[in-house]
């Protein structure tokens, strides 16, 4: 155990003496947090629409006005024929083409249920579905207004086509504030990634310089070496998390509804897990380039499959299972649950269990694959 103290002490001296490392661990994450939380948004804000109005009636104009009044839409053009509108879509100038058929108003008053056509540029699927969702909302409201304003016309119609009204409330993030949703996730992601990459590089650097050989020729135990790398970087990761949490609170005013101690308790387990993974990688890499390359390969999978950008619930079943060995997925889930929802220990029990098992596996593998003798 005494040996461990000297290893940790040495690592800390090196960390504090490294001029690039501390800014990298504090400044860069904050910059990333600000940029990504604001930019990586799934919110659809500006849907460009062209309305082809063959009817040119009072109602069709009311529809156009309603669309224009909605700040999520910008009415880009009102061409006279469909071909013109489709050309605009081809040029990627508009996202949605709304076609109002001739005699739309007439049919409506006759109670014939006229059909509007929307053509959606679905290259950007998110934009398409969300945008046409908004548009349907607008049309539905208009529909209701007409019925309310002109009760005489519709009094004779059967009531059965009155739609069921679904009202939804957004819990946990009532303003649908994207940074509130993204920041905790990105924070978790950054903490995990930076620590994976830094440990992997640090240990391989010792191999490149040759100091690891000098250590291997001492009677040091393998677990002592691994733990000697793990503890300092665990502390570094917790500092990073603290800095990030403070920054998210100050900049985005993210809610901290749950117990902050719980976040840190979970972060310790999670960091041990990802650090073990970083050390495991470093045992198989001869050079820092190799380590970075392999680390990136996994990091990319971890990030894309962690539920940060795309919800895990909407992945195919096999992919959902594949997120179980992904420590990042658990970290993000925990930070969102605890910060936004105020979840307690019981609610994040499974994340704790999975991460704990992964931490054991990765670290055992790291100790096992660390070779003191070739």
């Amino acid at each position: 155990m005494r040996r461990l103290r000297f290893l940790i002490q040495k690592e800390f001296i090196q960390i504090f003496r490294n001029k690039a490392l501390l800014p990298m661990m504090t400044l860069l994450p904050i910059i990333q947090l600000i940029i990504l939380s604001n930019a990586a948004s799934n919110e659809v804000k500006d849907v460009r629409i062209a309305v082809v109005d063959h009817d040119q009636s009072e109602i069709s104009r009311a529809l156009s006005n309603k669309i224009m009044a909605n700040d999520r839409f910008s009415l880009l053009a009102a061409p006279f024929n469909k071909k013109e509108a489709l050309d605009l879509m081809q040029l990627d100038e508009v996202d949605i083409v709304l076609e109002v058929p001739p005699d739309f108003e007439k049919q409506l008053y006759r109670g014939e249920a006229p059909q509007l056509q929307t053509l959606v540029n679905a290259i950007n699927g998110q934009q398409a579905t969300v945008g046409s969702g908004y548009l349907n909302g607008i049309i539905a409201t208009l529909n209701k207004e007409i019925r309310r304003n002109e009760p005489l016309f519709f009094s004779g119609l059967p009531k059965h086509n009155e739609p069921v009204v679904v009202t939804s409330n957004n819990w946990y993030n009532p303003e649908l504030d994207y940074p509130h949703f993204m920041a905790p996730g990105i924070l978790a992601e950054l903490t995990a990634l930076l620590t994976i990459v830094l440990t992997a590089m640090n240990t391989v650097r010792e191999r490149e310089i040759g100091t690891i050989e000098q250590i291997n020729v001492t009677p040091i135990k393998k677990w002592e070496f691994i733990l000697g790398k793990l503890v300092p970087f665990l502390c570094l990761g917790l500092v990073l998390l603290t800095v990030g949490l403070i920054a998210s609170k100050l900049i985005f005013d993210i809610p901290i509804r749950g117990n902050i101690g719980l976040i840190f308790a979970y972060a310790v387990v999670n960091l041990i897990c990802v650090l073990g993974f970083g050390l495991l990688i470093s045992n198989f890499a001869e050079t820092q380039q190799q380590a970075i390359f392999v680390a990136f390969f996994f990091v990319l999978i971890f990030v894309l499959m962690c539920g940060l950008f795309t919800p895990i619930d909407s992945m195919p079943k096999w992919a959902q299972y594949a997120t179980i060995p992904n420590p990042l997925a658990h970290f993000i889930s925990v930070s969102r649950k605890v910060l936004l929802k105020g979840s307690g220990l019981a609610d994040i029990k499974m994340e704790f269990v999975y991460t704990f098992i992964l931490a054991l596996l990765f670290n055992a593998a790291a100790v096992w694959s660390y070779k003191k003798q070739e």
Binding site: R2, R3, R5, F6, L7, Q9, K10, I13, Q14, R17, N18, I209, G210, T211, E213, Q214, I215, N216, V217, T218, P219, I220, K372, Q373, E374
Partner: protein, 227 residues
Amino acid sequence: MRNTQVIQVEGLTKKFGDFVAVDHISFEVEKGEIFGFLGANGAGKTTAMRMLTGLSKPSSGKGKVAGFDVLKESERIKERIGYMSQKFSLYEDLTVKENIRFYGGIYGLSKNQIRTKTSQILEELQLSEVGAKPVRSLPLGWKQRLAFAVSMVHEPEIVFLDEPTGGVDPNVRRQFWEAIYQASELGRTIFVTTHYMDEAEYCDRISIMVSGMIKALDSPDNLKKQF
């Protein structure tokens, strides 16, 4: 006589795939001897030394270092030997004192022992003034002598030196050999590899390695008579 032999090697072999780096070498080293391994680059000197220090697992053959088996007890051997590799292996970003403290701590020295060792090394190498400076800032010759001193921080029975004087000027080389003699006078066995012929003369006995095999083994004087 047997128990004065601190290294005994018999048929030690290391293969990397089809390539035989070290081919059935056998020799003994007496306690307190300065034993040299002379050979060109790639002759297998370093690989042989790495097997003796427990860094590399022998493919076949047997050997004992400081009374322990190189195949089964390499971790016990490591407690009793010092090693200075070809690559400079102190931490450049740590100070002279921090390096001594670190390696002292790794070898299980007590706080007091570390303190005594530190002042002793700084004094002997006349490095007291730069004790708090990062090792990076020292000239190569000083670094090498410091690395040698640090490799003996735990007072090992045997010290393995892998081309310790590579790349330093003749003056520093002479100083370095003085340090080796000092260590030898303290009863330490020195096992050193080199490709400088003149350095071989400083050894008590030398073995000449050519493509993995020991071609000659004797005192420098006897070898000179033979060839």
